[in-house]
Symmetry: C2
Subunit: 218 residues, 2 copies
Amino acid sequence: MRQIIAGGYAPAFYSHASRYGAPMRCLVVLAHPVTHSLSHAIAETAVDAIERNGHDYRLIDLYQSGFDPRLTVSEREGYYRKFDQSMLASEIGDLQWAEALVLIFPTWWFGPPAILKGWFDRVWAPGIAYDHAGDLGAIKPRLGGLRKVVAITTLGSPWWVDYFVLRRPVRNVLKHAILRCCAPHARLTFISLYKAERIDARTASDWMARVKKAISGL
Amino acid sequence: MRQIIAGGYAPAFYSHASRYGAPMRCLVVLAHPVTHSLSHAIAETAVDAIERNGHDYRLIDLYQSGFDPRLTVSEREGYYRKFDQSMLASEIGDLQWAEALVLIFPTWWFGPPAILKGWFDRVWAPGIAYDHAGDLGAIKPRLGGLRKVVAITTLGSPWWVDYFVLRRPVRNVLKHAILRCCAPHARLTFISLYKAERIDARTASDWMARVKKAISGL
């Protein structure tokens, strides 16, 4: 089913893709308002690694593209009949195109920024990411072609609050609610970068190495 | 510190407020795009109960008011210096006014709708809902006057998925991240209405009774 896209291959002698897997179609989704943010630096590193590994990619910078995260009246009213896709053609096309998804975002209040939450609310919708079961039972996945997901998020909190107090809500919802229902074949790599409010150069360098490694594992 | 507002009292012989507590300033926040939704019906029931119980209230219908949930560049850039409140005067005033908060929303993908997530992202901000500690350690609450929170949410999923698979992420984040940090004196009543996609009249009636009871407990 994979479509080979011109320019998607890199020569085997330097492409990690040849070692870890074939070239993939990667959708990178970035959700941070500030272009000199850590999230943007991570996205730059990730895109560079994607290119070096010989993958094809598309980047959605949700803020730069002016994405509106509010599910509309029309979209909600059609949710159980026919979902209104008319405002979302580009985002839907990108999601359905992707074999790998790379999410890059800060965690705010132990959730994704509203603009990214709304990307799930609106684009991971019936007829696109899944289908309702006839009896309103368990929903049926539609993103069977999505095989890998890398989520990279920065948090102000220390790791133990996320693990022991909150129980990793962002990871758990992504893994056990969204991916399980829509993309059951997708393997998730979830990278949490804690205490990100003030980091030194060495930590930043370590984090970028983790980002590159995760991309190399696609 | 409580300000008694004209009209906020109801005669003691029919006011539950006289039995359960003094009149309070209640902020109702509603987050659903469709005006004939279950969430809107719940909001109507809640507001009616608030009035009957002799409380004062303000209602923010996030969709109707056109609230934009995207934290802006300016707001993010000032987050660790001086948060830019210029676009949020009304929402900030309402939050600081409230002694009780009633949140009414559907749960989508085991999170609040983007429009409500963004209300937290933008309005529960430094200098408003909390203060940063000087050393970027634990943040300091600013909403000491918020004493009760009632969250009422509808979910498509059955209860056991929320409890055993996801571990109640919406409740846990609200209770252990947001309220603990910003409003440590607030007592939370969290009402989850499961399998809300298709309900019969009796279930709807039971649910409205639960809403009224929760409001009477303010």
